[in-house]
Amino acid sequence: MRVSTTGPVVVALVVVGICLYGAGCSPISGNKPPETPTVVCPDTVVAGARVAVHVSAIDPESDSVAFQLQWNDSVTGWFSYTASGETVVIYHTLEDTGVVRVKARAKDKENASAWSAELPIAVAPPGPAHPDSICDTLPLVDEYVSSCAVSPTGDYLYVAYASSESITPVRLADRTREPSFSVGDPGWNLVVSPDGRHLYMTVHNDSFVDVIRTADRTLEARVPVGLGAYGLCVTPDGQYVWVAVYEQYRLEVIRTSDNTVSDTIGTFSPWGPCTSGSVPPVITRT
């Protein structure tokens, strides 16, 4: 059940006898108030974002309960009744940065609970600009994309396809697609060396890594690795390529100076290696 603070909510308060709503009320009827609500909300949001506050409360007599929130010093009206124990999600938009405190209380038809403990929500300023606006499109091959990579130098983007041998280079300075080329087999994953001079690509259902020279887009070497090579990455210094060979439960390390496998690591089934500095973590699936 969702209740929005944006819509008007008017709840007729039925006051029995002289009982006032609030903690410690001792009603003439013997009706007990709901328990203090449980409140769950995020601890950090961005200004302008809609916050979801989850509230629930048990009524001793299983009466329906309604909730009221207090945002800092501002108290809302009572929201619509719901079943005892049912969680209600109340949405609220926080526009100003800083820390906002929220608490809730519940009532049945006669009595209100105590207020819950206050929960702080830090409201951060909106984030900086980031690339989320489409400004151009370019045609690619009519095949599913298996991976793409931008050269660390920022000169080119390369796109590989799942069922096509093509690799499409895109010159990024003027957003120009250059003619696709092929070195023999559809690629799984491809990465670009730090200097932009080589592509390394694992190949579908086969057991090698293609080393492609970007200057003339030709195959420089085909490095044998285990069957089932999938993810790969280049170390920041460009000296090694780490290849996940998941069907063989190992990583293989290719030395780029002579394009040979210099190490194997593992007894696990790796998926995709990734480097940061000199330490490459690896996804495993076992």
């Binding site: 950090t44 489409i134 400004c135 499109t137 690619l140 931008v150 796109v159 290696p273 330490v279």
Partner: protein, 143 residues
């Protein structure tokens, strides 16, 4: 491409002796990770059919799972982190999803829909989404 492997984990490997230093479980069907620019965190897309389907954050200093972001029904192909570390961007079957790194909650999903693969320009200003038949170039817009 067959995601959905049970019991996925991230293993850290020492380059000196080429051995696994430690691992952290990250749920079901984790994909290739991406690092924050300072290397303090890594992110991976969790593709499991059970539990959270979204993005997992791991602190690299002690390989501890620190946060998860539920991205609903979106199936995330791969992730990229902006060079300033402000956003984690995922290519999904529902378009792009942006995670504000401070709150780790999904922001708007940006069209176009369809499976694809995402890559960022090194300067962080331009993002490329490669899909079947089409490459989308995305530039910055103030949020």
């Amino acid at each position: 491409m067959t995601y959905g492997h049970a019991g996925a984990a991230i293993a850290r490997i020492g380059t000196a002796d080429k051995t696994i230093v430690d691992t952290v479980a990250v749920g079901v069907g984790a994909g290739t990770p991406a690092f924050s620019p300072d290397g303090q965190f890594l992110y991976t897309a969790n593709q499991g059919d059970t539990g959270i389907r979204g993005v997992v954050e791991v602190r690299t200093s002690d390989m501890t799972l620190t946060r998860t972001a539920d991205c609903g029904e979106r199936y995330i192909s791969n992730l990229a982190v902006t060079p300033n570390g402000d956003y984690v961007v995922g290519a999904t079957n529902y378009g792009l999803v942006y995670l504000d790194a401070r709150t780790f909650t999904p922001a708007d999903t940006v069209l176009p829909k369809g499976s694809g693969y995402v890559a960022l320009h090194p300067n962080g200003d331009t993002l490329y989404l490669a899909q079947r038949r089409q490459l989308y170039v995305l530039g910055p817009k103030n949020r």
